[in-house]
């Protein structure tokens, strides 16, 4: 049996899957105490399960994102070395941020040695401030980790935890590397405490199977190994939904996935079973990061959004949520009330919902049914407009080769898959608004928990080989080795594959025959003064988001 648990802003969903079927599901309100919420949800869904029967558990939690949004990060010192370009002071994070001399160029050559005294002075100031957590970042460290390794060493051993920039991602982006390293350092203790407590709860309940946390890229990682990468556990909710859509439907062809929730609607595009990823990484609160993430867009309209009429007689929905729907004792009309008034949904006081619709439409002279109809129509139109803009933006992404310009590959979804509470009620309206066949899976209400339950481990590596410099670097996997003039693409792929598999195994991918995808592959001849002097190979490969082996679409 498999357990999936997704903690949302207002509701927490849990499912228990037995032999590919959903055996139990539970929905409970999310409380301020995350661990209590987890405990309650576990108990709700596991009441009749023998503890030994769980072969896998996966959680999507809000601990780290809440800490970021509520500004409860641990005081963290940063030592940064930059070199030419933007002023590194612009990227200052945390209470004790220090820039020291020293720089690498884009090839990874040391253009200016790191200032050892500068590092030591910065470290002692950080320590003097009572800070014991440190992040070290240098520009172009993904091409050569030397300066970060030196900084970590020279900072001394007074620190309880040190995060290094080159390990967070192989992608070029110095400001994001600073922010991501900072978050991994500043969330370390908070996440470790959470993880320890969760492990304790699971132990109490006798649940000893492998346990995973969901990441924003729709993949999972081993809970115990997540300690090093706390920022990768933040904001995995939208990914849970997309993976749930994939698990329940398969999403063949180009599918637009809509998750219609209480206050928001999230959207994503799945291409033949593989969700699209963001080009760089997710934004967490005010921080733009290099944390791989599914490409999702969130808009402020959901089943519980407030509906009002503007002075011109047009209905406006969201982004505010005043409370529950009127039918459930709430203060303001909502799309859910419209569904109840139209008998699309049987919950709460139907009369209250109808009366609320009547009041809402009165200035325009509409009756309750007309107002309810127009509310759902307006909601679907707004979602459709947002989805069209979302797809337009994806199609406007720059391309850098003649081949790509001429191929002019554009995304054009052929159908819409809707999940979330109001899916069955809104599907018809969305079908009309988007002009695309729309459907919803069975278990549409707990798709997110299913997604967490059956998402496989994902991982990614970035390789750069430069035969002129004589080195190959895979920063995420801590690989740096000398190569000779003949190092070629084939060797690069083999080396990358090995590093990726090792890294994936480290965070919990235990299956054989991992499905590896090369997402970027470039090779440039390096010419100096009309003579070939080297080869520059760039590779990016990963295990893409997908479902665990043996899972059959549908649930």
């Amino acid at each position: 049996m498999i357990l999936g648990l997704d903690v949302g802003g207002t509701q927490t969903d849990a499912v228990l899957i037995d032999a590919g079927r959903i055996a139990a599901a539970a929905k409970i309100p999310t409380s301020r105490d995350l661990l209590a919420t987890l405990r309650t949800a576990l108990e709700a869904v596991l009441s009749d399960v023998a503890p030994g029967g769980l072969e896998r558990m996966a959680f999507s939690t809000t601990m780290t994102i809440n800490a970021i949004v509520e500004d409860r990060l641990d005081p963290t010192g940063m030592i940064v070395s930059s070199g030419p370009g933007m002023d590194p002071a612009w990227f200052s994070v945390g209470p004790s941020y220090h820039v020291v001399e020293g720089c690498l160029d884009h090839q990874g050559f040391e253009a200016k040695p790191l200032d050892r005294t500068g590092v030591q002075n910065a470290a002692s100031r950080i320590i003097k401030e009572g800070i014991r957590i440190l992040g070290v970042v240098s520009k172009f460290s993904v091409r050569n980790p030397l300066l970060e390794l030196q900084a970590a060493k020279w900072a001394g051993d007074a620190f309880s935890h040190v995060a290094m920039g080159h390990r967070v991602s192989g992608t070029l982006n110095f400001p994001r590397r600073i922010a991501t390293t900072y978050l991994n350092a500043a969330l370390y203790r908070i996440h470790k405490n959470f993880s320890d407590a969760l492990v304790q709860i699971l132990k109490e309940k006798g649940l000893n199977g492998p346990r995973y946390l969901l990441k924003p890229d729709g993949g999972t990682m081993d809970l115990d190994k997540s300690i090093q990468w706390p920022a990768r556990t933040a904001q995995s909710g939208p990914a849970a939904s997309v993976m749930g859509a994939l698990a329940l439907d398969g999403c063949k062809g180009e599918t637009l996935v809509l998750d219609v929730g209480g206050t928001t609607t999230d959207m994503a595009v799945v291409m033949d079973g593989t969700p699209l990823l963001k080009p760089l990484g997710i934004r967490l609160g005010p921080y733009r990061t290099l944390i791989r993430s599914l490409l999702t867009h969130s808009m402020g309209i959901g089943g519980d959004s407030e509906v009002r009429m503007d002075p011109k007689g047009n209905l406006r929905i969201g982004p505010i949520r005043k409370g529950k729907p009127v039918a459930l004792g709430g203060p303001a009309p909502t799309p859910t009330d419209a569904m109840i008034a139209l008998d699309l949904l049987t919950v709460g006081h139907r009369n209250a919902a109808a009366a609320a619709m009547e009041r809402l439409g009165a200035p325009a002279g509409w009756d309750a049914a007309t107002t309810a109809e127009r509310t759902l129509h307006t909601m679907a139109e707004a979602i459709a407009a947002s989805a069209k803009a979302f797809i337009y933006n994806i199609n406007s992404r720059p391309v850098y080769t003649i081949h790509e310009v001429l191929a002019d590959r554009r995304i054009k979804p052929g159908s819409v898959l809707i999940i979330g509470g109001p899916a069955p009620q809104i599907a018809g309206y969305i079908e009309k608004a988007l002009g695309l066949p729309s459907r919803f899976p069975r278990h549409y209400g707990v798709a997110n928990a299913v997604g967490a339950a059956v998402a496989r481990v994902t991982s990614e590596i970035t390789l750069q080989a430069d035969t002129q410099r004589g080195s190959v670097v895979i920063p995420e996997a801590d690989v740096e080795q000398a190569i000779d003039q003949d190092f070629d693409m084939e060797q690069a792929i083999a080396l990358g594959r090995t590093a990726l598999c090792r890294q994936a195994a480290e965070i919990g991918a235990h299956e054989n025959g991992l499905e590896i995808c090369i997402t970027e592959k470039q090779m440039f001849a390096m010419i100096r003064g009309y003579a070939r002097t080297g080869r520059n190979i760039r590779l990016r490969m990963g295990i893409m988001p997908g479902l665990i082996p043996g899972w059959e679409i549908g649930g």
Binding site: S82, G83, P84, G85, M86, D87, P88, W90, C103, D105, H106, Q107, A111, K112, K139, F140, T171, L172, N173, F174, P175, R176, L280, P286, R288, S396, R397, P398, V399, Y400, T401, I402, H403, V405, L406, Q522, F524, A525, M526, I527, G529, Y530, A531, R532, N536
Partner: protein, 435 residues
Amino acid sequence: MLRASRRTGLVFFPAFDWAISPTHPEREERLLYTQDQVLEEGLLDVDGIIEYRVRPAAFEDIQRVHFCVPDEESVATESHLIAAGGCLVAADAVLRGEVKSAFALVRPPGHHAMRVVHGNRGFCNINNEAIMIEYIREQYGIRRVAIVDTDCHHGDGSQDIYWHDPDTLFISIHQDGRTLYPGSGFPREFGGPNAQGMTVNIPLPPQTGEEGFLYVLEELIMPLLEKFEPEIVINSAGQDNHFNDPITNMNFSARGYAALNARLKPDIAVLEGGYALENALPYVNVGIIMAMAGLDTSFVKEPNYERDYRPQRDDITQYIKDLVVRLRDMFLEGHLEKAACKEGLVIERSRDIYYDTDHIHERQHEKIRCCNTCSGALSIASTSNRGQHILAVLIPLGACKECRKTGLAWFEKAIRGAYTHVYLLDRVRGVYERT
């Protein structure tokens, strides 16, 4: 969150799958390290810096500018069309008001491509700036345009295309033609009979430093622009004045480029040359983008700046001061030795043009009708050693009745002549014909 004080559009097209030849300076690798540096700086995350996707230009866009021999397919590859199209995307972004200014960081370059194109000259086939300017005129009804060409090489292609156009001020600042390709660009080349003084060439001595460039900008170029009052300013932003450039001898730095850009504030900058792809381009391009966005560039500096940058020599400073005095006198005080230009008079000139990359020899014979109200009807007979013998007639935008009549008469006569092809570009009616 870092915010640009001026909204800036960026069109980046490094053409990672195109080269003139594997070891040519115009090869796949050229903008690779620039891309690395731009990405590592996180420039695209800056609020107010917006990256646009390129699109290929159409043959129609080329036909507003060039007479391609024998046709567009033969001289412009996909890469050329995309580089030119990238400039059109930049122009749209600026003219629709989405951004304050834009930088088309595209390759291959274009400023050596002339009106008639038989092949590749100085790494250029079609003139990206001219194609963009004529597109802007057509789409947005703009007339007065200034081009400031800061590439180290004389922008002889752009000069040729705008030689007769009184609505385009073409200023080229470059290494003295006696010491560098293409060997032209002297002050005495100041425009055709209908546009005298609208071409301004500023040849600077080898080893000129950024002091010299910025001095010329302040004392000569800015006053010229003030006087001309263009509706739009284009910068042909070549980066081969850099002290690390392997094929030129100038002494400019990334900071200098940033300062130049911050002072000139072009509406659209278009990359031209620049072949120090590892130790100049990454820093220069970052400097230009930041300057356009209004960000402080004082940290933009080549790693070898302290070691290798030499301040400008005193004798060069003096030479440039004297040159500026002379050019101010010619172009600002109006002491040009203008040729007589009597309405209706047809002036002819002949010249030889060499295509260094493709080894083509071209002989041109040009006729222009002197006119006080328009740019004048233009006819070019062109013969190449590849067996082409063409005649092309241009009836310019805003042509007067008389010039239009003259142009059509030349065309009619040529059709009956012994040419391999005869071309007519009638900008008044928006017609392009080739026989």
